[in-house]
Amino acid sequence: MSGQIDAPPRRRAGRMLPRMTALRRREALTGYLFILPAGIGLLAFFVLPTLRAAQISLTHWNLMRPAKWAGFENYARLWADAQFWDSMWITLCYVLYNIPVQTALGLLIAVLADRLAKSVALRAVIIAPYLISNVVAGLVWLLMLDPLIGMTNSFLGLLGLAPQGFLSSPDQSLISVAAISIWRHAGFTALLFYAGLQAIPKDLYEAARLDGASEAAMFRLITLPLLRPVLVFVLVTSIVGSFQVFDVIAVTTQGGPAGSTRAVLWYIYENAFQFSRMGYASAMSMVLFAILVLVTLAQMRLLRGDRSDLG
């Protein structure tokens, strides 16, 4: 039928949304009911604490006495705090050690699992480290990387290599913490990529084979571009997660040796719970929050993660 007959009068079109039918309203209500539990969780555990932290960041508060209004003093102090910026730098180095290797390793495992073996058992093994908590993973690796009694140095000895300091060496500690994180997360990353690979139609690879593309060319020209939305998701979540590295450091190095693993969250924790500077710690949290929002938006924008060529 003609759209002209059904179209609403012109003067209404500009200022009114199309009226919802009763059915559409009921559907919308059902939709909202479905997301309500998640919405309540988000509000109670994310939005409200964030607002509360923003409020605390504008005060001096040592947990013992009532908070005193401080305005933007905490932010001014933070700006001049060399140790805060040092901890940001350490965190950034950790992200740079961690993310490229974790992402590349995850992608390699996923592609190999997809092209060579579609075994459920193999996928279970790949994801196994992710099922262990960070604390347990940290403890296990703390023992394995111990310079004196750890099996890693024994193994290096068998290969005729010199023993290393790992977590107790200021030069190697941050890399060691990153390695533990890579060990724990690469399998999960691989699983996300594996799921993304399943969405790429197999006949594209067949067409490419007939077109004369090598495996490497297919990976570069078909797999990577079509995996982009998953890649962006993995990068955003893992970069945000890496900026918030805490538990492995708490178990293994506690910011040491010589402050070499004092990542920003550990520095915030020290200020909040060792020096009782809740206002200052909250101000640092807000700055970290703002940085992560910017990093995420930039990534989404640059990599067009919200748009898929598939489907």
């Binding site: 594209l204 067409a207 007939l210 077109d211 079509l226 060529d309 598939l310």
Partner: protein
């Protein structure tokens, strides 16, 4: 252009054999259509020619050269997939030129060849679009264009029209026929649509359960089927199949009585008639049943399908089998009316109990 030669071609998945020794020759420039019911192995056979499936036994030659172990991209074949298999993140131009990049064709030549193919397929104004922004028919043409620019020896089509609506399918069928005429390529085409097979093919190969049942020109298969399967498969509506009993046979003639239908016994010429008492199947095409004809049957009309220029009349005799007649004008016919149908025995086909044609 090169021809194809399949010699005792076999395919097994583990212990299960799916292609049982196919022998076939496709002449250079010939349009060969594989047709058959689902699961008959027609797509598998095409993929074996393409190199996407390994060959378990026998020999495949293209242009006289054995191809069993040759990489798919070096066989001189290009394939159009049922799903089109267009690269969704590339433009039409990039899709069409993709294969040429790997043949190390210079960029200006790639551009020229893509432009030429786009012109033939009326795609020139769509070259900068991505597949998502194209209609089904346009995507199909891009898929064909991607094959054309590579200038292959043999084109392979895997049910290329099955995702299109009926009208577009008709248009694309004509396009493909025109293309074949224009570039004179050797084409192997898989379909389960017998109208496509009949209209496009120089040669139809009917497959069943991994074996070639019969190969020949469309009219050969229609007019002279080797068995009841081919007779039933080629032609729409299907050939009427009626049970009959041999009453007498001698001197190159056979006398038959139809089972379950009120009709007089009748005689047919047959070089090697079966023995009296044998059960046989009589096949009559719907257009060979009429209101006249030497052998008369009294039927009751059940359903009339008016197609405009002609009608399909479904009628039956008591509890006997239902027959379909193709009648030129039947506007006066109504459900429940008696119909006097008849046929000329010389136009009927006879099959033995195993479905083999009796000639």
């Amino acid at each position: 252009m090169s021809g194809l030669e399949l010699t005792q071609l076999q395919k097994s998945y583990g212990a299960t054999q799916v292609i049982h020794g196919v022998d076939l020759t496709v002449e250079p420039g010939e349009f060969c259509v594989f047709v058959g019911p689902s699961g008959c192995g027609k797509s598998t056979l095409l993929r074996m020619i393409a190199g996407l499936e390994d060959i378990s036994g026998g020999t495949l030659s293209i242009g006289g050269a054995p191809m069993n172990e040759v990489d798919p991209s070096k066989r001189g074949v290009a394939m159009v997939f049922q799903s089109y298999a267009l690269y969704p993140h590339m433009t039409v131009r990039e899709n069409m030129g993709f294969g040429l990049r790997f043949e190390r064709v210079p960029k200006d030549q790639i551009k020229r060849r893509v432009d030429e193919a786009a012109e033939v397929l009326e795609l020139s104004h769509l070259l900068d679009r991505k597949p998502k922004a194209l209609s089904g028919g346009q995507r199909q043409r891009v898929a064909i264009g991607r094959a054309i620019v590579r200038k292959p020896e043999v084109f392979l089509f895997d049910e290329p029209l099955s995702n299109l609506d009926a009208e577009l399918r008709g248009t694309m069928r004509v396009e493909i026929a025109r293309l074949h005429k224009e570039i004179g390529a050797t084409i192997v085409y898989v379909t389960h649509d017998q109208v496509e097979a009949m209209t496009l093919a120089d040669k139809i190969v009917v497959l069943r359960a991994g074996q070639v049942e019969q190969a020949g020109t469309p009219l050969d298969l229609y007019d002279d089927p080797d068995n009841a399967f081919i007779a039933g498969f080629i032609g729409s509506p299907q050939m009427n199949m009626l049970g009959a009993t041999v009453e007498a046979a001698d001197g190159g003639r056979v006398r038959l009585r139809l089972d379950g239908i009120a009709a007089e016994p009748f005689e047919m010429p047959l070089a090697a008639p079966p023995a009296p008492g044998d059960r046989v199947t009589l096949g009559i095409r719907p257009e060979h049943l009429s209101t006249t004809g030497a052998v008369r049957m009294d039927l009751v009309l059940e359903i009339v399908e008016h197609l405009g220029s002609e009608s399909l009349v479904h009628a039956r005799s008591g509890t006997g089998p239902r027959l379909v007649m193709r009648l030129p004008d039947s506007r006066g016919l109504r459900t429940g009316l008696p119909v006097a149908a008849g046929f000329d025995p010389a136009r009927a086909f006879l099959f033995d109990a195993d479905g083999r044609r009796l000639r």
